[in-house]
């Protein structure tokens, strides 16, 4: 895998918690999430429904929609001029100069986020002139064409209406729109879930090419762990609103330190490696309104101990580059990664 040049710290998330406030009480969608993102790094965020990954990504840029509210924690943005800003208490006005200029987002089904009655070029111009009012309409349209060309889309598409373009093309144009102001960070929330696997490859290869040229960091959210393993430098796994493991992709793949990571990894049938009987995770994801005491994954965990049912594990460093939240990693206990059946050999056999 081509190694990326990873720079200084760009974003520091500390103890971020987001609740959904309802008439029946608060539901904790994200609970005490912490991680660091460096410039030029690709961080993958994996999880299934109810894991909180989408909530976390929107909360990062303070884009969460009511009834989601940030109830605690900090999101520290390290500007390239050395200033550190906490995004959480900032108002929309204060965030305006950061949004899109430094921090951009491509949302889930972004292809539906286009105004169906306006031409593509016009929508690009709106965004560009919003962030640089001095730009003339002619210049903005020119730049719109440039951005489309960046994603390999013909320039004449600036005159197209969204419905005249395929889903894949719309998605690519929106990704290039996110790059319009040359941001430091692009958050992508399931950008390829709605497209086919070949289009996904086209889109991601162009994103990566642009990433190499422009050097922005990416937070990539998806449920498709197999895609993330090929794509990201570091990987964070979320379950029931918590980050349960985070570390380099190769580490998490070969030596997962949390039973959920291992089970999730083993949920993807291999393409070429010899076929074996595989099993998913029994049970269902927990109801966020009624989280059990102790570890949220314990009811479904093959290796749950008594301690797991009563004490919630903290996200702690368990090896040089990996943090995990699991009692099995306590120094006295046998870590998850050990044991012949947990490691994956070079050929992908469960040894």
């Amino acid at each position: 895998m081509t190694r990326r040049d990873v720079g200084d710290v760009l974003l520091e998330v500390q103890d971020l918690s987001v609740d959904y406030l309802t008439l029946n009480g608060a539901v904790s969608a994200v609970s005490h999430a912490s991680f660091t993102l460096r410039r030029g790094e690709i961080l993958g965020l994996a999880g299934e429904s109810g894991s909180g990954k989408s909530t976390l990504t929107t909360a990062l840029l303070r884009l969460q929609r009511s009834p989601a509210v940030t109830v605690g924690g900090k999101v520290l943005y390290h500007g390239d001029d050395g200033t550190v800003t906490d995004l959480v208490p900032r108002t929309d006005k204060e965030l305006l100069h950061l949004r899109w200029n430094k921090l951009a987002i491509v949302m889930q089904s972004a292809m539906d986020a286009l105004n169906p009655v306006k031409r593509l070029g016009a929508q690009f111009v709106d965004v560009l002139r919003q962030h640089d009012p001095r730009m003339s309409e002619k210049a903005a349209l020119e730049r719109a064409g440039d951005l489309l060309a960046l994603s390999g889309i013909p320039r004449d598409r600036v005159d197209s209406f969204p419905h005249e373009m395929s889903g894949g093309m719309r998605q690519r144009s929106l990704i290039s729109l996110a790059l319009a102001c040359d941001p430091d960070l692009v958050v992508m929330d399931e950008p390829t879930t709605a497209v086919d696997v070949v289009m996904q490859r086209t889109i991601m290869s162009q994103v990566l090419r642009l990433q190499r040229e422009l050097g922005f960091a990416i937070v990539f959210v998806t449920h498709d762990l197999s895609l993330l393993l090929e794509l990201s430098d570091r990987l964070a796994i979320m379950y029931a609103g918590k980050v349960v493991e985070i570390g380099p992709s190769t580490e998490l793949y070969h030596h997962p330190k949390h039973p959920y990571t291992k089970a999730l990894r083993d949920s993807f049938p291999p393409l070429y490696a010899p076929l074996v009987e595989m099993r998913g995770i029994p049970g269902t994801a927990p109801d966020l309104m009624n989280l059990p005491d102790g570890c949220a994954f314990a009811p479904r965990c093959a290796r749950a101990m008594d301690l797991c049912l009563t004490k919630r594990p903290e996200l702690v460093q368990v090896s040089e580059k990996v943090d995990a939240a699991c009692h099995l990693n306590d120094p006295q206990k046998e870590p998850v990664g050990a044991g012949p059946s947990d490691a994956r050999s070079e050929n992908g056999h469960a040894a």
Partner: protein, 317 residues
């Protein structure tokens, strides 16, 4: 889904208001007996008197008739017209709409055409013309059309909206996977419509029926005001019309036309509430119940932030 409908605050308020009116209409006679004054009784001692004099809680009309009494009696008249027109509109609308949605094809095209014709007719104008003929047919001095005829005229122009709505709902349900899956199981068509699809429609039909009743009440008042008379039946519409005709406005007898006007306004609001409630239930994105909780939370958050800043400032001094 429809228990949610009943729990919705707006719906509860709307239904409560409507229930109150219905209750008054049904138990009107009882209430009037307790009250003491009949709607047509003339009290020569208190003619056109302001409220709370001589036992007349809402005063009397220029003919000495008790306003509150008429209001209570009028509830029945208004409700009768509203209910009958709603029955007519919903029955025709549901029958035509659901069948068109289900059978489709040429039948659907024909029904659509008929619906369109009725929909584009200027209903009020035509009702007035029809009312004119019907009244005239009874000869000079006749009591105008009966309330049944008025209900019929209202309903006959209301059914297209209902039919269109029902057709759209039916099409949606028919296209749903479960509909197809049940058909591919071998379920007979009539059973599919009656037992699988109808239950989804019933809730919607009930809500629209209620709304139609209330729309009928409003229409009746409007028609009355425009001069279509319904003979001796008292309704809120007739009250307002009479008040207007006999100069209550110019003479300042507010207690005569205000109560029925308010009653109609309350009904109108109740209709809107029920409709909003129905919208919220069918489209969860419109739910706003949580907004209050969120706003309260954000207010608290901002207050805390300000308090912190203040302590930080005082601490640094």
């Amino acid at each position: 889904m429809f228990t949610g409908f009943l729990h919705n605050r707006r719906v509860q308020i709307g239904l409560a208001a409507f229930g109150l009116c219905a209750g008054i209409a049904i138990f009107g006679d009882l209430i009037l007996k307790v009250y003491g004054f009949g709607p047509l009784d003339v009290d020569y001692d208190y003619v056109a008197s302001a409220p709370l004099r001589g036992g007349h809680l809402l005063g009397t009309t220029i003919s000495g008739q008790d306003v509150l009494s008429q209001l209570i009696a009028g509830a029945r008249g208004s409700l009768a017209v509203g209910t009958l027109s709603a029955l007519l509109a919903c029955t025709i609308g549901a029958l035509l709409g659901v069948s068109a949605g289900f059978i489709g094809g040429a039948y659907d095209t024909v029904v659509n055409a008929i619906t369109n014709v009725f929909m584009t007719m200027p209903s009020f104008a035509l009702t007035l013309i029809a009312a004119g003929y019907i009244s005239a047919a009874g000869g000079p001095g006749s009591a105008g059309m009966g309330w049944v005829m008025m209900a019929f005229l209202i309903g006959i122009f209301e059914w297209p909206g209902m039919a269109r709505y029902m057709r759209a709902q039916t099409l949606t349900l028919r296209g749903r996977d479960f509909s197809m899956a049940t058909k591919l199981l071998g379920e007979k068509t009539w059973r599919l419509v009656l037992f699988e699809i109808m239950p989804h429609l019933l809730g919607i039909i009930s809500a629209r029926f209620l709304a139609a009743i209330m729309a009928g009440i409003l229409a009746e008042a409007g028609l009355n005001f425009l001069g279509v008379s319904t003979g001796g039946v008292i309704s809120w519409g007739t009250m307002i019309t009479n008040a207007q005709n006999q100069g209550a406005l110019t003479l300042g007898f507010w207690w005569w036309f205000l109560p029925p006007g308010l009653a109609i306004a309350v009904i109108g609001t109740a209709t809107a509430m029920v409709n909003f409630g129905l919208d919220e239930v069918t489209n969860p994105k419109l739910r706003t119940g949580n907004e209050k909780v969120v706003r309260a939370f954000l207010r608290r958050q901002r207050a805390e932030a300000r308090a912190e800043q203040r302590t930080a400032v005082t601490a640094s001094n």
